[in-house]
């Protein structure tokens, strides 16, 4: 049967459940799309066509014989190439690990497989989820499907490009300072950084232990809810894994948010990291939609400057990353890409006292954040200061030049979802962040879903710059 170019994960799941869509046809249609488009997008660094079709045939048989596993059964996905896959190379897009083949799946990858997803391949990333966009790595940087001269954001760049282009229906990302939300914002997706500890990082190449999160990226908040359901849960092998109940996220998606109290951190994007006028305007219009849906919106949540949150997170991130890579950097410095290795030289200049002071500052900032937002169910701020820049116009030491709008919630550990809230004059997506209380992903996704259903942005798809 003919499969549409674009389907959300939830739409495909409903069709598969009713047996109106064959997982084999769906997987074949995505493989055909990858063959046709990914030469320009570079989202995959490895595809698994034979394995994927074999798994799709198994899924089809299981579903036909009454062994339907749930809404992820038969759904084609991709994994960022820092998620270990047993018997399949996992490289972090680095020469350092170019030939590495893990023996076990990452816990999150394994859980998604058990839920019935079908792995189409491994998706490109900035080197070790940090160094990019780079042109001196084993695989080239991904391109933005909305305009291939533009950056996807990073580091989960391949997942972002592949979902936006309809090559997969969802995928995984990791987020240490914004690596899910940044690329999701610049490519018009929904991307969720869950609460620290909700999704296992076992088998995910680390960047910075105290800030690393794994999470879903997809076209809609509903799709993210379905993927999160497959990924979340306690893992004793991850020292940071939280022992908390995992609710039914899809049940929260009622489309209704009347009575929710929303606070807005305006100074982050209006004075600290000044967003483009069209970004500010898009967020203002979105706040009007939330009001219209019955939420109350308080426009003036005041925190320490964004720079403080960003600096705190950056010091922790690069110090921990340097500790992970120190021995290899000394032995094989020039085998790393230039962006990664030069950023690590700056990290090497930090002292032990700098790291401890950042960890002390982190506690202060988290305490401040929780006090300032105690009266709200959700907090909204910008995801990025503007739409995607050209890929050849990204500073080598970003985000030191401008404080990251996403890092504050890695510092505090709260769940944060990016959703698309409009488009720039030149047709590139604009995003906003919806931040919730710890382990209250259900309310975050509820608000994202209600907003998406109340607006028309999800109907617009990329044109590949043509």
């Amino acid at each position: 049967m003919s499969v549409p170019d674009y389907l959300t994960l939830a739409e495909a799941a409903r069709l598969i459940k009713r047996r109106d869509l064959s997982p084999v046809d769906l997987v074949q249609s995505r493989l055909d799309r990858i063959a046709a488009l990914d030469g320009r997008l570079h989202s995959f660094l490895l595809t698994l066509p034979e394995e994927a079709l074999a798994a799709a045939r198994v899924a089809e048989t299981e579903i036909a014989t009454g062994r339907y596993r749930g809404p992820l059964h038969g759904i084609p996905i991709g994994l960022k190439d820092i998620f270990d896959t047993a018997g399949i190379a996992t490289t972090g897009n680095s020469r350092i690990l170019q030939d590495r083949v893990p023996e076990r799946d990452a816990t999150a990858a394994q859980r998604l497989a058990v839920a019935g997803t079908i792995l189409l391949g491994k998706l490109t990333t900035h080197e070790f989820a940090f160094g990019g966009p780079s042109f001196d790595l084993p695989w080239p940087p991904a391109r933005n499907p909305w305009h291939t001269d533009h950056f996807t954001g990073g580091s989960s760049s391949g997942t972002a490009a592949a979902v936006a282009a309809g090559l997969i229906l969802g995928g995984t990302g990791s987020d240490t300072g914004g690596s899910i939300r940044g690329p999701a914002s610049l490519t018009g997706l929904a991307g969720l950084k869950p609460t620290y500890g909700l999704v296992s990082r076992t088998g995910v190449l680390p960047l910075a232990y105290s800030l690393d999160h794994a999470g879903p990226m997809a076209w809609t908040s509903e799709d993210c809810a379905l993927l999160l359901q497959g990924m979340a849960g306690h893992d004793p092998a991850d020292p940071a894994s939280a022992q908390v109940p995992v609710p039914d996220y899809a049940r929260a998606l009622t489309g209704k948010i009347a009575g929710l109290r929303i606070g807005v951190i305006r100074h982050f994007y209006e004075t600290d990291n000044v967003a483009t006028p069209e970004t500010v305007a898009a967020i203002d219009v979105a706040l009007g939609v939330f009001r219209k849906l019955g939420a109350s919106v308080d426009d003036d949540v005041r925190l320490s400057p964004l720079h403080d949150y960003a600096a705190c997170g950056y010091v922790l991130m690069v110090a921990e990353a340097y500790a992970i890579h120190e021995a290899t950097l000394k032995a094989r410095f020039t085998d790393y890409g230039e962006i990664f290795r030069d950023r690590m030289v700056l990290a090497a200049a930090l002292t032990a006292a700098d790291y401890v002071q950042a960890a002390r500052r982190r506690r202060q900032l988290r305490t401040e954040y929780m006090a300032a937002t105690a009266g709200f169910d959700l907090v909204i701020t910008a995801s990025a200061p503007g739409p995607a820049p050209r890929i050849d116009d990204v500073p080598k030491f970003t985000p030191l030049d401008r404080p990251s709008l996403t890092m504050p919630f890695n510092v505090t550990g709260h769940p944060a979802l990016t959703v698309c809230c409009g488009f720039s004059d030149n047709g590139l997506p604009i995003g906003l962040q919806i931040v919730g209380r710890a382990f209250d992903e259900a309310t975050v996704l509820q608000a994202g879903d209600a907003y998406e259903k109340a607006t028309a942005w999800r109907a617009r798809r990329p044109t590949f710059g043509l």
Partner: protein, 72 residues
């Protein structure tokens, strides 16, 4: 004629050389000028994470001892 370097720039050059000597990282000469352009950010990062904490202000991730069975 190239402009004379400021004291801060000279300090940065010396600090980078010291980091390279201490760590043994084989930083190619051609990349050092690039790294130096980012050197001023270090002072800002340090200033922002040092906000006169009190002696008792603990780091965010402290070790929490879990209970273990006592030896019988």
């Amino acid at each position: 004629m190239p402009a004379e370097k400021s004291a801060a720039e000279n300090n940065a050059v010396e600090e980078l050389a010291a980091v390279i000597a201490r760590t043994g990282l084989a930083v190619p000469e051609r990349e050092r000028a690039d790294i130096l352009t980012a050197w001023p950010y270090l002072a800002d990062l340090r200033a922002r994470v040092r906000r006169d904490p009190g002696y008792a202000d603990e780091p965010a991730h402290v070790f929490i001892a879990a209970g273990e069975p006592l030896p019988s």
